[in-house]
């Protein structure tokens, strides 16, 4: 992953692409010069890859890998410290009866809940992620967004999930979006930045590709599909486009950036389809929580149930996994 040069300064755009972000016009030219995405083609490919057969050892491996990639998330107006502590406990011991069950990657909460999460996860390797920047609509001033981000980081979040200004993007004000991502990245300091594109509102695959590149150019460590508050949230074809973007980014710059589909992924079966896409579209080296995450709340329990089914040889039912 990229390293920040110093706190409060976003890293520069890598040399081969430095000129691209020189001014509004060149940024626009670059984004509109990206190859288009053919809707029929990408949806066909996504459907075809979804039919790979993952069974037995491959399935066990995939389930454990998926568990280790989950950002266990609660983003409700009704969130309380108690709820967050419960989630943190689950993150540390996803399956209390099976010590070999991997931990999840992170717990993802609103900024004001970060302290509670950090406290509950102290001393563990589980990260604390926080949605900042006026999540989920992002309809507030940049000052407020920056303050929101700083708050999350001060409270101890080591990952920040920001939302882009979809209004500015759809108006074609790409430089504003770029500047804002860079400013937030700078405010993150050492924390990793995940840039939420809210692909459901971007509407076209061409826009998804442009927004992906915009976020990568601006220094986002991850590109993330959705807030989970807008439908459609993550879809396989959209994730394909984003995986292709990080693959191409790596080809051009040598840097590895991550992808996080979020919202609507509820079953182990679906999660495995995403892993196949990661494997075949981005490449094998993306099959790590450092470069791929699932933003999900209900996915984990299905993964745990399926994990038990694989280990025990029979299905145990929803009462055998914890509800938090």
């Amino acid at each position: 992953m990229t390293t920040t040069t110093s706190p409060n300064a976003a890293p520069d755009t890598p040399a081969p692409l430095a000129d691209v972000t020189r001014d509004e016009a060149s940024l626009r030219r670059f984004l509109h010069g990206l190859p288009g995405v053919d809707q029929v083609g990408v949806e066909q490919r996504a459907a075809a890859l979804g039919t790979r057969s993952i069974k037995k050892d491959a399935k066990r491996w995939a389930i454990d890998t998926a568990i280790s990639m989950v950002d266990l998330t609660t983003l409700e107006g009704a969130d309380t410290r108690g709820k967050v502590r419960g989630l943190a406990a689950k993150a540390l011991r996803p399956d209390p009866e099976r010590q070999d069950c991997p931990r999840v990657a992170a717990v993802c909460v609103y900024p004001d809940m970060v302290e509670a999460a950090v406290d509950a996860l102290k001393g563990s390797a589980v990260h604390v992620a926080s949605v900042a920047t006026g999540f989920p609509s992002g309809r507030t001033s940049r000052e407020v967004k920056l303050a929101d981000t700083r708050l999350a980081v001060e409270y101890g979040a080591d990952e920040v999930d920001m939302v882009i200004d979809r209004g500015a993007f759809l108006e074609g004000r790409y430089m504003d979006v770029f500047d804002e991502i860079r400013a937030i990245k700078a405010a993150c300091g050492e924390a990793h930045l995940k840039v939420i594109l809210e692909t459901g509102e971007l509407a076209t695959y061409d826009n998804v590709r442009r927004a992906s590149w915009l976020a990568l150019l601006a220094g986002g460590d991850f590109i993330k599909t959705s807030t989970g508050k807008v439908s459609p949230a993550a879809t396989l074809p959209v994730t394909h486009v984003m995986l292709q973007a990080v693959h191409d980014w790596h080809e051009q710059t040598g840097e590895l950036r991550g992808v996080k589909p979020a919202g609507g992924i509820r079953t182990a079966k679906d999660a495995i389809k995403y892993l196949v896409a990661v494997h075949e579209v981005a490449g094998e080296q993306w099959l790590t929580p450092n470069l791929f995450r699932f933003g999900a709340s209900s996915l984990l329990n299905d993964l745990l149930l399926q994990r038990r089914t694989q280990v025990d040889g029979h299905y145990s039912g929803p009462d055998y996994v914890t509800v938090d």
């Binding site: 190859p35 995405v37 029929v40 083609g41 057969s53 069974k55 292709q244």
Partner: protein
């Protein structure tokens, strides 16, 4: 591949209900042919699958007489709405027995099960459904009121899509009121003989469909037979020319679907990732054993390097191996003979100075396999740019302007299909008008539908199959 190994998911070969022995189908019965039996081989393992009784020249005569009798007494007299019922019944039986047919096809042909299961068999059924719909509506097909069938159709089909080519031939022939004598390819006779069982199950009147396994001499005997009214052939240009000479001067109607060397043209504004998918699908579908395969990639120079990089990465993810495994993308080459032909042409590419790149995918020790191969630095003067390879080998050429793309795409003795990749709609229409090819795909490749006519220009043959136009080949108009 490395850490994420997919689980093998092979279909059981038991589903194919493979028998030790198969026999020709004449006059509604399976009979002992008087030809030398042939052994059909599983190209993925080189094991013998079954012994197949073949027809002799005298059996051809018996079959044509059976077809003539069925034509005169039953089939041509039957109202179209009645014929439709048989065709619908056949279509449904193909669907009911689709798993059996798919597994059998993959065993006999070597194609991946995902293709036989998801493409060949459903499309074969679709052709019967589609033509069943026409059987009682021929008055409205645009050939005047009450168009007449031709009589007995002699049909010879290739080994690349054994069941599908059978459907392309038999469905329109029966819908229009003709009867049929069909010779499947020597290396892939099995699904045609299971289709004969389906004809029995559908209680199709005896003699309407006759199926004669055998080698080229039996095909020739069908073509030469004096009481055959129409010849339909799909296969190599070489054999097609021979047939055309044989038929010349007779009253027989002829349609030929022959070879191809399709250009797949990628412009710099194309949706490149999907273009790469289309290139892969265009040439590696069915191991490149496709007459309309996009075997000549014409890519605009300004994006050539980028496309090649993406293409190599994508091709290296293709999984080659057991055709019955549903994770397999590339199956086996149909025969040792075909493998040798592919190798010969690939060596000519090396010798003439093209740059060969081969996918690093593991190649099975047994069986006839050829790893996906891409030649760059190919020029129009090379054999690999001109001759049909009929294998998983792509030749990549470049162009600078749309006019040059058209000139190069058309610079071939063939003309079966072409592909255009660009986000510019006006250029698609302009190109499609200029390209001499029977089918032009835009931003996709290898899409088939019974309603869309298929056929070629120049040495790719003449006549159309499918759609309203395809009916003409079986009607006296």
């Amino acid at each position: 591949m490395g850490i994420f190994e997919y689980a093998p998911a092979p279909e059981s070969r038991d589903i194919a209900n493979l028998k030790d022995h198969y026999r020709p189908f004449i006059g509604g019965e399976f009979v002992d042919g008087s030809g030398e039996p042939l052994k059909t081989v599983n190209p993925a393992t080189e094991e013998i699958l079954a012994e197949v009784g073949t027809a002799s020249v005298s059996d051809v005569d018996t079959a044509v007489r059976a077809a003539r009798k069925a034509y005169d007494t039953v089939w041509s007299k039957m109202p179209g709405s009645e014929r439709a019922k048989y065709l619908f019944r056949i279509a449904r039986l193909i669907q009911e027995r689709s798993r059996e047919l798919a597994v059998l096809e993959s065993l006999d042909n070597g194609k991946p099960i995902k293709e036989s299961r998801d493409s060949d068999v459903p499309t074969a059924a679709a052709h019967f459904f589609y033509h069943a719909g026409w059987a009682d509506k021929l008055d409205y097909a645009g050939y005047g009121p009450n168009p007449k069938p031709l009589g007995v159709a002699g049909q010879v089909i290739p080994w690349n899509f054994p069941l599908l080519m059978l459907a392309w031939k038999i469905a329109p022939a029966l819908a229009t009121g003709n009867t049929v004598v069909l010779k499947p390819a020597e290396t892939t006779p099995l699904t045609a003989l299971v289709f004969a069982e389906i004809c029995q199950q559908a209680e199709l009147p005896p003699g309407v469909v006759n199926i004669l396994p055998g080698a080229g001499d039996i095909g020739a005997a069908v073509v030469e037979h004096g009481d055959v009214d129409k010849i339909a052939f799909t296969g190599s240009t070489e054999v097609g020319k021979l047939i055309q000479r044989t038929v010349a001067g007779t009253r027989k109607k002829l349609t030929l679907e022959l070879g191809g060397k399709a250009a797949n043209v990628v412009f710099d504004d194309a949706p490149l990732d999907q273009a790469v998918e289309g290139i892969v699908n265009g040439i590696f579908f069915n191991q490149g054993h496709v007459c309309c395969a996009g075997s000549r990639l014409l890519v605009q120079e300004s994006v050539a390097e980028e496309v090649m990089e993406k293409l190599r990465y994508r091709v290296s993810t293709l999984r080659m191996g057991d055709p019955l495994d549903k994770n397999t993308d590339i199956g086996a080459i149909n025969s040792a003979e075909q493998l040798a032909k592919i190798r010969g042409l690939v060596e000519s590419g090396d010798a003439e100075g093209a740059q060969r790149w081969t996918s690093p995918c593991p190649v099975p020790d047994r069986g006839f396999f050829f790893a996906p191969t891409v030649f760059s630095d190919v020029h129009q003067s090379m054999r690999i740019a001109r001759e049909e390879i009929f294998g998983p080998v792509l030749s990549v050429l470049t162009f600078r302007t749309p006019d040059e793309a058209v000139a190069k795409a058309n610079n071939t003795p063939y003309g079966l299909s072409a592909g255009i990749w660009t986000e510019k709609g006006s250029r698609i229409l302009w190109m499609a008008n200029k390209l001499r090819a029977g089918v032009v795909w835009a931003n996709t490749f290898n899409r088939f539908d019974p309603a869309a006519p298929f056929g070629g220009y120049q040495e790719s043959g003449f006549g159309r199959e499918g759609g309203r136009t395809g009916l003409e080949a079986y009607l006296s108009v």
